[in-house]
Assembly symmetry: C2
Homo-oligomer: 136 residues x 2
């Protein structure tokens, strides 16, 4: 256990969910400017390897890292503001496990993502439309 490793681990759990390597790197640098990017990257991978985090890929070319939670959760991804929020998938996982079983597939993990518009972005669009209507 090196001081750098401890910094990275601490920073990861302080930052919370859906962290990118760059975000973690910046956070670590707040405490110690001298820590290298590769060290942050390697230790983040290590956090994954020991099962404390897992990669989340929303398809924007940047891997995010999510704390592994006791209860599984799904992700709402807003295509407008790119926000990523979580929701419970208790019942859904049951149905999925059944599906897997039906197909003789042994599940290890479930990835559930809903893309769409978050509430804020819906409001923005609505107010825009209203303005346009007034203009007409």
């Amino acid at each position: 256990m090196t001081p750098q490793r401890e910094l990275v681990f601490r920073a990861f759990f302080e930052l919370g969910d859906h962290v990118t390597v760059d975000e973690l790197y910046d956070k670590v640098k707040e405490k110690d400017k001298s820590v290298g990017y590769s060290t942050v990257w390697r230790n983040l991978k290590l956090i994954c390897k020991v099962g404390l985090a897992e990669e989340v890929n929303i398809g924007d070319g940047v891997t995010r890292y999510d704390r592994v939670t006791q209860v599984p959760h799904g992700h709402f991804f807003c295509v407008e503001c790119k926000s990523l929020t979580e929701f419970s998938v208790d019942q859904i996982v049951g149905v999925l496990a059944q599906s897997a079983n039906d197909h003789k597939f042994v599940p290890e993990a479930f990835k559930i993502e809903i893309r769409g518009l978050c509430q804020q972005c819906q409001n923005k669009k609505t107010s825009l439309n209203t303005k346009e209507e007034v203009r007409d």
Copy 2:
């Protein structure tokens, strides 16, 4: 409409699901060696833009392209042999839509993935274990 574009479109629909750019490029080259990689890439993006395909990201660093189907489907991803197979998600989508609604989230698309072991890879592991038991 150029001959290259037609080749790319045809090749994509011949190849079927979960195609990578490289796979499509190879397929197109079977018909015409002179077609450039960028042309294949651009036309594949075009196929997406017009709504005939969508990107699938299983987190292995390679984007795959899936035909858009009338009925939504989920993916089984075998972590052993990396195979990607499809399954029906009729009921699940209903539950997810309800979840989205509960959170005032307007859904556009659902991504459902189950990672684990396909039947073949289960068998391989079982037979390996059996051999080990015999050895002991």
